[in-house]
Amino acid sequence: MLRERLGKELLYFDGGMGTLLQENGLAPGELPETWNVEHPEVIREIHRRYIEAGSDIILTNTFGANALKFHDESCSLKEIVESAVGHVKAAVREAGAGRQIYTALDVGPTGKLLKPMGDLDFETAYEAFREVMVMGEQAGADLIHIETMSDTYELKAAVLAAKENTSLPVFATAIFDERRKLLTGADVPSVAALLECLRVDALGINCGMGPEQMLPVLDEMLRYSSLPVIVKPNAGLPQQRDGRTCYDVVPEEFARLMKQITEMGASVIGGCCGTTPEHIHAMKELCRGLDPLPVVEKEYTVVSSYGKSVFLGNGAEDSFGSKIIGERINPTGKKRFKQALKEHDLDYILREAITQQDSGAHILDVNVGLPDVDEPALMEEIVQELQSVVNLPLQIDTVDTEAMERALRIYNGKAMVNSVSGKQESMDSVFPLIRKYGGVVIGLTLDEEGIPADADGRIRIAEKIINEAGKYGIRKKDIVIDALAMTISSEPEGAKVTLETLRRLRDEVKVNTVLGVSNISFGLPSRPVINSAFYTMAMMNGLSAGIINPSSEDMMKAWYAYHALMDLDSNCERYISRYSAVSAGTAGTPALGPGTNTPEMGLSAAIEKGLKDDAHTITLRLTEEKAPLDIINEELIPALNRVGDGFEKGTVFLPQLLMSAEAAKSAFAVLKEKMDKSGEVQEKKGTIVIATVKGDIHDIGKNIVKVLLENYSFDVIDLGKDVPPEKIVDTVLERQVPLVGLSALMTTTVVSMEETIRQLREKAPGCLVMVGGAVLNQEYADMIGADFYGRDAMQSVHYAQKVFENKE
């Protein structure tokens, strides 16, 4: 019933609850939900006043009622939710309004930040929401209203919990600021895309601002939303007066602006903080007789991350031209990447992501499939880690549907999915996942019969995929067709067929397209020559997004030139800013920072001065005349020692120490590659586990220690931050590690440092423990039973050297 009325007639929410409770004596910091039990008459009275003022939808007094936020010994969550729903129902009876009134279970945020920025697990948040939502449905709520969300990740946990565990309609609104962003950085299109792809019934904006300040946010929301839009502003911006929070927009003014908001296209309206039954009454009086504007399906193809939306094809203002999907997070044909996956070297993979973003990628493809790894677990882990360092949308690339589902579930945004094909089996397994979690899916133009040799065949498969997707309610805008590039070394007509397919997909089928561009040159020499020319031709024929290596300068030249030539780069700004520093004759690599490389400078000088780029180039040159191990022993180590000594004497300071460490690292990288090629190995001095203890999220000190230990040839297993004692113990036992380094920042987390040491003593008695961190000193370290306290990072290096010398 509600679903049928939604968007067709104007529906009215109620207004603020907290403000009215404060008037009745609610103290700051007191939990408003306890009033359901302690002052039921006040709650019912407020509901009744809103019904009389004209509200169709009444929110239960359960904003903070979830296990993570609500801690009160006098009443249980269940009592709160049941009584809260009961109060609305009772108020409906008392008011006898003669119209349908809906009871909306109000669900606010947990008050905690989700990982990786905070310490709350996605599934823990999900569970907290699930619990109250199930209670709410059982108690008789008519819909679930998720509101005041400032993090898309938490929003997703809440919506999934509602969709998976109840059959109620789901409304969801978020709190934007004057920059038109959520506190965690998401923009309007990414919030709209996320909520739409999770299939909520209505979405919108609440709290944070008054109606006037909300207008620009609403304008943008209406441009991107294909669903009915909810608007619930505060009664203006909060003002402090005599120690109280006040709101200044009076009912008449509020009503006038809400009428304007309705005329712009909102179809469910109400108030948030500071609004009263008088505001709602005035609003309803003024809006009476208005019909909402029809809700129009938007045709944008958009993928999003927690903080960014990326459009494919034509539509939004910034969307013209072709998008770059970085292909480097993929083990195929990459020895070093395979090794990183097998050794669980996540840092390497994360650096690949950062490099691609810095090179200009818009979306990152993520493929971690290898025969001997647990792909679903690894995919889930890497997607989470990537979300903590890059804000680009990700493309989940796997043939393993379990890996696909786990990645889509924990992905913070609307993902790109690679891929589905025209095979019935593929469509049967992939489309249900897209229906449930949303996403833009790549459709490969191949089926049971293989890859059609001509464009006609490929177009037919594209149409089949689009039709089949339609059966799941997945729209054409959420499908991107891969026209497939076949190498011209074995298929002479390969490029021509692909280009014709692209053009016809754009002009006839009117669907977005994608291509793994570099396949075209497989088996040929100097592949970048062919790849970059083909890339230009593909863009010319409508390629919406190319899967390429953004670190390849040839490809990027093609990209920049194409956009400048086709008037897709206003005033050639992007082109100029990238290439103006490059002299015409050598239009090769763009300037990448200062090169202070003087021919006479030696490697040790470069390291002592902390010149990373120079250390790299000098080492490259040195390897032509000297053996890597000699370079390490004669140049690298002495230079590092001199810097380390200076640091301890107080003549060199932390930034300089680390600049030298980074320079040494870049030299080591060159040497390692050289040694790998010749099969030579540098003896590692020993293996050390390092971790920031459970409950602690400040890991910069640990990361400093790591860089230095690695410089001194230790094999460092970095378990990261917030690491449970059990994980540290298990790693020590499994890898037979003789030394552990632990860091903690605050007194509250030294407790878990102590616990970690206790467990290590019990289960791995031979293992030594060194500790460090802001709050520690020798005395404290002795008290918790550590073997060594490192005042600074160099001290841990010395201690580690001592430990492993004694072992030898």
């Binding site: 700051p28 920025m117 506190l183 402090q240 990373k612 300089q656 602690d696 999220i697 509250t748």
Partner: protein, 213 residues
């Protein structure tokens, strides 16, 4: 030299030594980048302050026992609860740098801390100006974790400010603030104008701290 740069240099452990040119350049770059990334937000609420004979400090529903805070609030009749954050983008930036360049990561870390202090000072000045209209004068801000003011008070303090909703500031189970570049504090307001209130390092009892001004 700008105060914020001096502060960043101090956080980087230079003590009274001058920073080298390259570090100074990196510090300036870091501030520029942080200005682009940070989304500073703050919230405050003013409460009546009640201090009992037996040393309890009562602010609304919150009751605190702390000798160092009592000293700080001596003579005050009101208190401002204050919360501020640079936002989650700064944490992401530092995390990202830790993977690519630790030297830059520690410099950004120090600069972010200096930027946050500067922002808090500016916000506090605004609050101070309003209070002076009521002839009240502010004391230096005092945060949970200072002296014997237990860090556990972070929780009620943030609840009374509704920090999660108003500025996106939350805390972990172990009372660490997320985003990490954030501050919560109590600021006393007194009808007596004290000359040159002691603040920051000078007020701290940890005299052997290497970061002491």
């Amino acid at each position: 030299m700008e105060r914020r740069i001096k502060e960043a240099v101090r956080y980087l452990g230079y003590g009274r030594n001058a920073a080298d040119e390259r570090t100074l350049t990196l510090i300036e770059d870091a501030f520029a980048e942080l200005e682009r990334t940070a989304a500073p937000k703050s919230v405050c609420r003013i409460f009546d302050l009640d201090q009992t004979e037996d040393g309890r400090i009562i602010i609304g529903n919150m009751e605190i026992r702390s000798r160092s805070l009592s000293r700080n609030l001596k003579g005050c009749t009101k208190t401002v609860l204050f919360g501020a954050t640079l936002g989650p983008g700064v944490d992401q930036l530092i995390r990202r740098m830790s993977l690519t360049d630790m030297a830059k990561a520690v410099i950004h870390q120090a600069c972010a801390a200096a930027l946050l202090e500067e922002y808090c000072d500016e916000e506090q000045l605004k609050i101070g100006a309003e209070l002076e209209e009521q002839e009240l004068y502010m004391r230096p801000r005092f945060s949970p974790g200072y002296g014997d003011f237990d860090i556990q008070y972070q929780e009620p303090l943030m609840r009374m400010l509704d920090c999660a909703k108003t500025i996106g500031l939350t805390m972990t189970d172990s009372c660490m603030m997320t985003p990490t570049k954030s501050v919560t504090a109590l600021i006393g307001a007194s009808p007596i104008k004290e000359r040159c209130p002691i603040a920051g390092c000078e007020a701290c009892e940890k005299k052997d701290c290497e970061y002491r001004r």
